[in-house]
Each structure stands twice: as C-alpha cells, then as structure tokens.
C-alpha cells in the first residue's frame, strides 16, 4: 500500500537526500500491509504490493520502482509525495503506481495513516467516482474485490462481463444479426435439400433412392404423355 520504504541501499547522493527528507518529514519508512491483509481476507483473492506500488514486492529494495534504485530527481518526487498530508495535492511518486498516487491525492497522507487502523473504510473514503482503468468498475470496488484498479482485464468476472456487454452492445448486436442471417440462410438451404431429395426418410437411403427412381419414372411418363398430346391423334 502507499507508504514509505525503509532506506537500505542506493546511490550516495540519493541516500543522503533520502535521509534528509525522512528527517524533514519525520515518518518511519515502511509499507502499510494492513490494507493488503484486509483485501486478501475480504476478497479471498491473492493480492500483492502491486495493487498500489510500482514493484510487486513493495517499496523496499534495489529493483526498478523500489527506493534503492531511485535517482535524485525521483527522490525529490518521492519526498513531495511523502509531504502531501492534505488531500487535493497532485503527487507523482516513483514507488507508487497511479492508484497509489490517486489514494494520496484523494485522501492525503494524514487520513491514509489514520485508515491503517480500519482499512475497511478506505473504499468509502475513496468514493466511487474514480475508475482509472475505465472498466466501469470504480477503483474503490476493485480494492474491495481484490482486483487491479489499473488493469481493465482484472475485475469481478460477472460485473466485467455485463459492463463490457453494454460497452460493446453495438458490436454484439451486429454479430448477432450476422449470425442470425447466416443461420437463416443455412436453415433455408437445409430445408430446400430436405424437401427436394427427401433425404431423411423413415427407411433411410434406400427409400430415398427408391423415391428418386419413382419420381424419375413419373416425370418420364408425364413427359411422354405431354409429347403424345402435343403430337395429336
């Protein structure tokens, strides 16, 4: 969850900046696992730090998106995010993803720290307006469901299906129409075959062939009688 990673590695300048900024902000630098634990328990889904952080293993470490890898400019952005105690401040933390930044922007650090005691209240605090991945499921709902608010392919399956069905209603309607027209054509083709050759009979192919022979003989007989009538007495 949005939080401050402990300072363990990094370039000398970055480390110095980090120590200075920590002293300034006066916060101990650790992640907030309470939110993750709540989500896992409530949703039954596995959730990791990538819900809000850049790196799935959280902010501490040397990998991209973790504190140990930050440049001086990124440290500067991190410190500005750390100092955003009040809501409404634009943040662009290098260790948080867009959802993490949105939480800080919406709530401010102060309220977020208070919510650590009751992580179930985070969705109500976030509201239902924000939908960062535009999958028509609010970020707050995705948090409760343990799905990723930045991935349109992650969401409660049934809800995602209904939302996408509405979104692609025209495409689906065209597809249904095309299929129905196709099936209508095939069905008529089928009926024509059935009617013309009497393929499906009570007694199988032999009857069908017998029927065809009788039909041919009858046709031939009628042709002869027509010719005879035309020829006159």
């Amino acid at each position: 969850m949005p939080g401050m990673g402990s300072v363990t590695h990094g370039k000398p300048a970055a480390a110095w900046l980090m120590v200075m900024s920590l002293a300034l902000v006066g916060q101990t630098a650790f992640g907030y696992p309470e939110f993750q634990q709540y989500v896992q328990k409530s949703s039954g889904r596995t959730v990791n730090c990538a819900l809000c952080h850049e790196h799935p293993d959280g902010p501490e470490g040397l990998k991209p998106g973790q504190i140990g890898s930050l440049t001086a400019e990124e440290m500067d952005r991190l410190n500005r995010a750390r100092a955003a105690f009040q809501p409404g401040q634009t943040v662009d933390s290098p260790i948080l993803n867009d959802f993490g930044d949105a939480i800080i922007r919406t709530l401010g650090k102060q309220q977020l720290l208070l919510l650590r005691q009751s992580p179930e209240k985070l969705p109500a605090a976030l509201g239902t307006e924000s939908d960062l991945d535009q999958d028509s499921i609010p970020d707050a709902d995705e948090y409760v469901a343990g799905t990723h608010p930045l991935d349109p392919n992650s969401g409660q399956p049934w809800r995602l299906f209904l939302n996408n069905l509405k979104r692609f209603a025209f495409h689906v309607a065209m597809l249904v129409a095309a299929t129905l027209f196709g099936l209508y054509g095939l069905n008529n083709f089928l009926r024509w075959f059935e009617a013309s050759a009497a393929e499906t009979t009570e007694h199988g192919l032999e009857d069908a062939e017998a029927f065809r022979r009788v039909e041919t003989v009858t046709h031939e007989a009628s042709r002869r009688s027509r010719s005879a009538a035309e020829a006159g007495p």
């Binding site: 596995t46 819900l51 293993d57 392919n153 992650s154 995602l160 689906v172 299929t179 192919l205």
Partner: protein
C-alpha cells in the same frame, strides 16, 4: 501360425481398417449416412472440436505476428498484444477461451464415443488416433501455458516438470534416471528458462500442429471411410445424409457456437477469474505469489497429486492412458449400457474434481 498366415492376418486387419474400395467421393460423402437417435447430438462433438482447433490456428497465427519467444520480451510482447495492438486483446482472449472449449469438446467427444461403443471393429484405429489427439490437445495446453511467461505460467510449468522427475523415485535400477533425463530434455537446461521457452514455443507452434494435422487427417479419413457408428443397441431406421444435411447442420452449430465464444471473448477476459499477481511478469528472484495452479483441464490429475501418494496417482494415470489405448480390445464384449455407466462415472469425476477440486482439497487438508 506360419509367417505367411501371419502376414495374411495383418493384411486382412489393415484391409478391414483401410478399405481402399471406399476411397471415392461417392463413398466418402454422397453415400455416408448419419443415424438419428437419442444420442445423435454426440455426433457433433468431434466437429466442434475441429472447429475450435481451426479458431486456434487462426488466432494463434495472428498472435505469432507479435509474440516474442524470449524470457526478456515474452511477457512484454503479450502485454503489447493485449493493450496496444488493434483487436489484440480480443484475439488473445479468443485464443484462450477457444483452447478451453476445444479441450472440453475433445473430452466430451471421447467420453460419448466410448459410451456409444464407437471403437468397435473396424474402428479401432479411429479410436486410437482419437486418444492420440486427446494427448496432443493436452500437450497444446501445457506448452501454451508457459508462453506468456508470467508468474503462474512459469511456476505451474516448474511444478509440472518436477512431477515428471519425481516419477523416477518409483522406477527400478537404470530406469530411475529416465524421468530426470526426460525433464532435462523438455526443459533444455538446469531450470526453467530461455531454453525451455524456446522448446515449448517450437512444440506449440510447429511440432504439435504438424502432429495434429497428420493424426487428425487420418482420424477424419477413417471416420469418413467407416461412416458414423450405429451408437445405440437397437439399430435405428432413421438416418440422414452426411452431405449436405449433416454438414449444413454442423455449420449452423459452428455459427452459433462462434457467436457465443466471440461474445465471451469480447466481454469476459479469461484473466479476470484469477488473482492479478499471477499474471505479473515472472521474476526468478522475486517472491512467488500464492495460488499457483495448472489450467482447469489438468485439475483431474493436479488435485489427486496434492491429496494422494504420488506413486498411486501416477500408477492410476498410467493405467488410464494404457486403458484408453487398449479400449477397443478391453471393452469389445461390454454392453453399451455398461459402457454408458463407466463413461458417466468418468464424466462425473471430471466435473466434480474440476469444479469442486479446491473445496475437496481444503476439506481433506483442513486449510
């Protein structure tokens, strides 16, 4: 029996299974009849499996234009296909859903074929090619699962390959080394890595499709040569022509099924059924997320492996696979009623273990 008699016997066997006199358009298409009875719906399952295979070929070919089979780029290329390529997400989702549908249809096809005793003389080779196609389909699933190179793909493949090696513990003498060598042969190196990905990619897009083309060609040819099996004990008097009536009905069903699969692929991402950490890029040095499992169509062997002794499950699987190949001879004298009961039990097991496998596991493990 003299050598000449043996040759004659083999010759008769081959002649009965491959009747060359029926190699004509008239015999293969015009004369072919499809019986009409209460199990007639089962005649469509094979065609449906074929239809899904064709979808797999088409969508797989499209994915091939963008997919990069390297450990550094595989996941990124799949992400690129899903998020950047026009229609890429739909094609990928269609490929995933159709693969599951194909495996479902192949399983349903083999179970109904068994229940209808369609493996009877002279259809033994048709049955065996069907079993080979089932195994090849599972092979497609196993090799394709690794290609996106995300957490669940790599970790599930590791577990799968590890279970091959574990079989060596129960083999005697020099044979004990064979499974480990098979694992290295498949894996290509000490751990699942680039060599494994390259091999799985080659198997998935070249080797298995070629094997399927050959086996499927033979299977369909034999089905046409011998015609549809009677399927029921009392010969039905009703039948319909295969061409064009049955074929047109098949096409109608394909059209409807394509509509359903397309809408599902458009609106319901396959990934939404899983926890999102499972689809993050594989990180050999990072933590392994919880919930690593194979695809649903391997649950029938995965959950027993989790609950029962390894040797018992492997023995059971070996018996089942051998039994499948020998079905035409083992069950030649068995009535359709008994076969239907066995097929029903197999279907029941597959459905229960696939749908409730996790609950059963938790019940017995107390987790």
């Amino acid at each position: 029996m003299s050598a000449a008699e043996r040759v004659q016997k083999v010759g008769r066997f081959v002649a009965e299974r491959f009747p060359v006199e029926k190699f004509s358009f008239h015999s293969l298409f015009q004369k072919k009849e499809v019986p009409i009875h209460r199990m007639s719906w089962a005649y469509y399952m094979g065609g449906l499996a074929l239809f899904f295979f064709m979808i797999q070929l088409g969508t797989g070919l499209m994915l091939l234009f963008y997919y990069q089979p390297t450990v550094s780029d595989a996941h990124a290329s799949v992400e690129y296909i899903t998020t950047q390529v026009s229609g890429g997400g739909l094609i990928r989702n269609l490929h995933t859903w159709a693969s599951s549908a194909m495996i479902f249809c192949v399983l349903a096809h083999i179970i109904t074929t068994f229940a209808m005793k369609a493996f009877e003389k002279p259809r033994e080779v048709t049955w065996i090619t069907g079993v080979v196609l089932l195994l090849l389909t599972f092979g497609f699933g196993f090799t394709g699962y690794l290609l996106p190179w995300h957490q669940i793909a790599v970790n599930a493949t590791k577990v799968g390959l590890q279970s091959i090696e574990e079989a060596g513990r129960y083999l005697p003498g020099a044979l004990a080394e064979v499974p480990a060598q098979v694992r290295v042969l498949i894996q290509g190196e000490a751990a699942v890595g680039q060599a494994t990905l390259s091999r799985f990619f080659a198997l998935h897009v070249v080797v298995l499709p070629l094997l399927v083309f050959a086996t499927l060609g033979l299977h369909v040819l034999l089905v046409q040569l011998h015609g549809m099996s009677q399927g029921v004990d009392r010969p039905t008097k009703k039948s319909e022509r295969f061409f064009p009536l049955f074929v047109l009905k098949d096409f109608s069903l394909w059209g409807f099924v394509f509509l359903v699969v397309f809408v599902v692929a458009l609106c319901l991402p396959f990934e939404s059924f899983f926890s999102f950490p499972l689809f993050q890029p594989f990180d050999a040095l990072g933590s392994t997320p919880e919930g690593i499992k194979p695809e649903w169509y391997f649950f029938f062997v995965y959950y027993p492996l989790e609950l029962l002794p390894f040797w018992l499950v492997m023995l059971g699987q070996g018996v089942v696979v051998a039994g499948l190949f020998l079905t035409p001879w083992i069950f030649s004298g068995t009535s359709r009623k008994t076969l239907s009961i066995i097929a029903g039990a197999a279907a029941f097991y597959l459905v229960v273990i696939t749908v409730f496998g996790q609950d059963i596991y938790q019940f017995f493990k107390g987790e």
